[in-house]
């Protein structure tokens, strides 16, 4: 077989660790391997590195260092928030507001809480995946303790009106959590300006290492631990610090913040170029998600009459790594809950393709993808009984 070039367009799944990040991490494996909780001088280097990292992360959000808590990633941050907030504020009430398009780390934890006596309102979204702030306000009750709305959606890239929701939450005295796993270090976020009380993020989504993330908890929130044990993280998150991970994530955040604007502009150009081309050159293609309020790296498109997994395998044969919201890729019979929530019929949702670019993705790369995609879509449609029916009807 010929040597094939890999074109990685699944950066919402995970990203390559930046070489500078690896370099920053290395000394903390073999040289400064001390446990930051230890008393001797040798461990001070590790402790200093963790403190420094906390400062970098805090600055990137307009937060204070003591409001940043290191976790093992986005899922832990989401689980911790929901479970611990539910526990901490149960005397006020047992009602939580979220949306239908959240990540499963939120949705499945909400289901868990429902089984334990909590009530959850799952807000609808519009056809572009936007939560309506007025719906949030209408859903607030005297016993509402938390609103959890993602900053940006992982599948369709839609950026939610968190600032507006924050204002509403604040005026009603309800805490606002946002799952910013896809948004943090990709687009600007400020916890004070947007009245965010809790925020989840994950290192490997922005060229940091896997297995490390953080939770921002606004000072004054009295929630307890999720991982019980030692006194790390001011008694709130037990477990020996993942020092290399923390250092790496902070380095990645630092790099991301340095030239965010330029990177966003560059990605938006490539993204919009491709979106326009697809709509022009492939018939019966529908772009999912808001065209403007959209993550710079996200492209999501449904091709009618074909199924996503087939498309992914054929793209893979051409060296293109992508993902889909089809049932076959989710391991269940239903396609993605996000695509269904924006009102797509099942058979169209099965034909979705998500491409998430990085800052290294070029127009030439996307021209290559478009060329291959045209052939693949045509081939699969030729094979599709749905397309046959459509053609014979029209």
């Amino acid at each position: 077989m010929e040597e094939k070039k890999i074109l990685y367009l699944d950066n919402a799944a995970t990203t390559a660790v930046a070489p500078e990040v690896v370099e920053a991490m290395l000394p903390y494996f073999t040289e400064y391997y001390g446990n930051p909780s230890s008393i001797y001088g040798f461990a001070a280097k590790s402790k200093a590195a963790v403190d420094k990292a906390r400062e970098v992360i805090a600055n990137s959000l307009g937060a204070k260092p003591e409001e940043i808590y290191f976790t093992a990633g986005g899922s832990e941050s989401d689980n911790w928030t929901l479970v611990a907030m539910a526990e901490a504020y149960k005397s006020k009430g047992k009602h939580i507001i979220t949306s239908k398009i959240e990540h499963h780390a939120i949705l499945h934890t909400c289901e868990y809480l429902e089984k334990n006596g909590y009530e959850v309102t799952y807000l609808d979204v519009d056809e572009n995946g936007l939560v309506n702030p007025a719906d949030v306000e209408n859903a607030i009750r005297p016993d509402t303790i938390l609103i959890s709305i993602m900053y940006a959606n992982n599948e369709i890239g839609t950026i939610e009106p968190i600032g507006e929701i924050g204002k509403i939450a604040k005026s009603h005295g309800v805490f606002l959590h946002t799952d910013a796993v896809q948004a943090y270090a990709h687009i600007p976020i400020n916890v004070d300006e947007e009245n965010i009380d809790l925020l989840s993020a994950s290192g490997h989504k922005f060229h940091g290492p896997k297995g490390i993330g953080f939770l921002y908890i606004r000072k004054g929130i009295k929630m307890g631990s999720f991982i019980h044990g030692g006194a790390q993280e001011r008694n709130r998150r037990a477990g020996t610090h993942n020092v290399p991970g923390i250092v790496g994530m902070a380095k990645a955040a630092e790099l991301a913040m340095e030239h965010m604007k330029e990177r966003m502009d560059k990605q938006i150009k490539v993204r919009d170029y491709f979106i326009e081309k697809v709509q022009k050159e492939i018939p019966y293609a529908k772009i999912n998600g808001d065209l403007k309020k959209r993550l710079p790296n996200n492209i999501n498109v449904c091709f009618r009459f074909i199924e996503g997994e087939s498309m992914l395998i054929m793209l893979d044969m051409k060296g293109i790594c992508a993902s889909s919201g089809s049932a076959c890729t989710s391991g269940s019979l239903d396609p993605s809950h996000v695509l269904l929530a924006i009102g797509l019929p099942h058979e169209i949702a099965h034909g979705s393709l998500r491409l998430t670019i990085s800052e290294d993705t070029t127009i030439e790369d996307m021209d290559y993808v478009l060329g291959e995609l045209k052939t693949i879509v045509e081939r699969l449609r030729d094979m599709s009984p749905l397309y046959q029916d459509f053609v014979s009807k029209s």
Partner: protein
């Protein structure tokens, strides 16, 4: 995830297409679950031999591969022999399928049965052992009007 045989039948599917004025056509599965198979049979009325077979499939890699293999397995056989081609035979011929994809091979078996049923109905004959296919594409379609 898939065997080499599955990948081969997915990349180079045999017997893709349609047969005009086919002796029997069967469509099974529904768009809701993401798999639809349609099989066309050209049957010699005298010998009852399947002279030609074609398929169209909307679905995942395994759905395409099982359609392709199922058509290969029934081609040149009599309708009675074709009825004996089970999903297990299709799976074995493909060197196995991942557990979540076993339903694709069932669908392929049902598609063959549905096409045979259509042939039997059109010709007013009874094929011993053939039951009316359960899956009907129209079920899925009606619910999709939103």
């Amino acid at each position: 995830m898939y065997s080499e045989k599955v990948m081969d039948h997915f990349s180079n599917p045999r017997n893709v297409g349609e047969i005009e004025n086919a002796s029997g056509v069967g469509t099974v599965g529904n768009a809701k679950c993401g798999d639809i198979m349609r099989i066309f049979l050209d049957i010699d009325d005298k010998t009852k031999i399947i002279k030609d077979v074609k398929f169209k499939t909307f679905g995942c890699g395994a759905a395409v591969a099982t359609s392709s293999m199922a058509t290969e397995l029934v081609k040149g056989k009599t309708i009675y022999e074709a009825l004996q081609v089970t999903n297990k035979a299709v799976m074995e011929a493909l060197d196995g399928l991942p557990p979540v994809k076993v339903h694709c091979s069932l669908l392929a078996e049902e598609a063959i049965h549905a096409a045979l049923w259509d042939y039997a109905e059109k010709n007013g004959i009874v094929i011993e052992g053939l039951e009316k296919p359960k899956n009907d594409i129209s079920e899925g379609e009606e619910e999709e009007e939103y």
